[in-house]
């Protein structure tokens, strides 16, 4: 038995090394940037990191401000683009980011992105307030049903995301969760490869299921309405334009407009915005979205100007 177990151990150990070499050599995983929390309690990426997306088709870079996406040539007439993984957009090359496409739509403006997977609606608003040193004139916040629900601590408690407690009317900043464990997982490429293959698809399916359910029957509407009211009372939202995913519950759109948000409800006229096994937008999807956002932005703010 000892010999058998020893052989199994050695074989497994060598398998792990071989697997690690294969996964690294073939770049079967994407590299994941490390995060940090800044002085304002905003969770962003450690600046100036570089890495590649799965299969190494393209690489990504975190800029000096701690966000993905290129920085503009100058910061005049600046518009920030804030959102979750759709805006962080590591799955597409840098030329497929919203800031590049929107610059083509609205050449008179400059764009800076502030995207990070898992950003909630309230966190996006918080980020918009904390980009003040850059003095953006406007903020475009991308959001979905889940981003509103996940903003409310009483509905779902996510300690790693910034949330709001509606009962206490208090912002609870997100904290880095299992940072060391994540660091090990992301650096142990073989383990991360299995984690991605086994854990992520289920999570994605669950997410899309939640989205479609949420649109059919929006359970937490009263709380989301309160969230929107509190946000409008607490922050200056006059220069924020909410860009809402096509499946956003109509009641949320209506309430957001009532409390003073300018909104763009994306219309999905074609089915091929997303990757085959991933809900995120492809380069084509981003380009189509930017056309709608550009038009909506002009409507919303040119009339103001």
């Amino acid at each position: 038995m000892k010999k058998f177990l020893l052989n199994i151990f050695i074989f497994t150990f060598l398998s792990l090394i071989l697997g690690e070499v294969i996964v690294r050599a073939n770049r079967l995983n994407q590299e994941v940037p490390q995060r940090t929390v800044d002085n304002n309690g905003i969770q962003k990426f450690i600046p100036n990191q570089k890495g590649y997306w799965a299969t190494g088709e393209h690489s990504w870079q975190v800029n000096k401000l701690g966000w993905s996406g290129e920085l503009p040539q100058n910061y005049d007439n600046l518009v920030s683009i804030i959102g979750d993984s759709y805006i962080a957009n590591f799955m597409n090359p840098v030329e497929c980011h919203q800031n590049i496409f929107l610059k083509k739509q609205l050449p008179e403006y400059n764009f800076v992105e502030a995207g990070r997977p898992g950003v909630t609606f309230i966190e996006a608003v918080e980020i918009s307030q904390n980009l003040t040193p850059l003095k953006p004139n406007y903020h475009i916040i991308y959001a979905r049903n889940n981003d509103f629900i996940e903003s409310i601590q009483e509905v779902r408690n996510y300690s790693d995301r910034t949330q709001i407690s509606l009962e206490r009317a208090k912002i609870i900043p997100g904290q880095l969760k299992y940072a060391q464990a994540k660091k090990i997982l992301y650096n142990w490429k073989l383990a991360f490869y299995f984690f991605n293959r086994l854990a992520t698809p289920a999570a994605e399916n669950k997410e899309s299921e939640i989205n479609s359910k949420a649109q059919k029957k929006f359970k937490h509407l009263a709380k989301v309405e309160k969230l929107l009211e509190l946000t409008s009372d607490r922050y200056d939202i006059s220069n924020i334009i909410l860009t809402l995913h096509p499946d956003t519950a109509p009641a949320i759109v209506k309430k957001a407009q009532e409390v003073g948000f300018k909104t763009i409800l994306l219309e999905k006229k074609e089915e091929n915005w997303s990757f085959e096994h991933d809900n995120h937008w492809t380069c084509y999807g981003h380009e189509r979205v930017s056309v709608q956002v550009g038009t909506g932005f002009k409507k919303a703010f040119n009339s103001v100007n």
Binding site: M1, F4, S15, L18, G19
Partner: protein, 479 residues
Amino acid sequence: MFFNSIDFAIFLPVVFCLYWFCFNKSLKIQNLLLLAASYLFYGWWDWRFLSLIVFSSCVDFFIGIKLAESTKDYQRKLLLSASIIVNLGFLGFFKYFNFFVDSFTQAFTLLGTSTVDPILLNIVLPVGISFYTFQTLSYSIDVYKGKLEPTKDIIAFFAFVSFFPQLVAGPIERATNLLPQFYRRRTFNYAQSVDGMRQILWGLFKKMVIADNCAFYANDIFANHSNYSGSTLLVGAFLFTLQIYGDFSGYSDVAIGTSRLFSFELMQNFAFPYFSRDVAEFWRRWHISLSTWFRDYLYIPLGGSKGNTWMKVRNTFIIFVVSGFWHGANWTFIIWGALNALYFLPLLLLKRNRSNLQVVAQGKYLPSLKEFFSILITFTLTVFAWIFFRAESVTQAVSYVNGIFSLSLFSIPEVFPIKVLSLIGIFTLIEWLGREQKYAIEDIKKVFPKPIRWAFYYLIIVAIFSFTGQEQEFIYFQF
């Protein structure tokens, strides 16, 4: 729980460790652990159907004891009949109820009674029911015939019926082989366990690389056969032929290998059937546990190959048609069985059904030209029969065959997966080289030193991760 799942990858080492490190002091407790593990393994799909296994095990256990106690012939016959009725009753209800109702309805409609309104039930087929039913039946029949002493060890018997490696897709073990292994004290055997691991690895390769990749194309071609040329349909039938072999023999390899980790020896279920030189040899090498079950419990009691020509023809048709029907409640399986009977009959009548008992080209690298063409003809006949096995209905099968035998048979196939065909080529070569063993890579330990063996295992693992097809269920789970 599938063998090719993460659940099983966790389940197996846990049971292995408990079996050898925690419960190795007592045989009874080891058997109890195997029983609990087997029920967990089965209950992973649907725990409700565990009641069927428990009930079936109870019936045969007590009938076995009663058979030993009774001396009167009619009592013994009555007890055996009870076992057969209960076991085949379950099988008939869950597997064939709707088929019979539907077939009777169609028959009545053909006779002009158009008002028959069939009562079809929404029955879920319990996984592996055909396998464990035959296993328990073999126990009662063997006890009745006096080939086996009935057991009084209820835990051993229940563990024998539900032994997880072979519970849902065989090999269908005989009580005479497997049950005594639950009585004897088992000690860890290094060589046996290493061999078991090797067989598991080879089985996973067959299933995940060969079968699942073939399935991807075969499923598409069969589903859209009317849109494809004859040559593509031929490719589809060929790929299904490899799929079903990789799938089922792969499962058997994992089952046998897993059993060996627990110091159990199961019977060989496949012996390189596609290298057979005639159909009789094919049936000695394909799904051996089922073929021999039917031979011993149906064919021989019917008279076997003894008697006049009519009896031989009758018995051959019965065994092949029943074997086809065992696979599923569909006329396609019955036709598949009948087709094989037609292939087999000439050999039987000309007394050439036992002319190829040895492995082809024994001790040689290459077959003779005659052997090569014999293999090719047998393989072609088998591919043709598999079309009926795979088709959803007889109409689809006929349409598929018509599609093959059209002018487009000579066109370039629209589907010609080079990668999959290359993998099949490598796989066939390895199988050919290892055809004199129980499974293709069994003798690697005798031929190559450890570093080369391990490098080969790593290649297989890399192939599994690099070329694994979209996960497909094991085909034989539905039977």
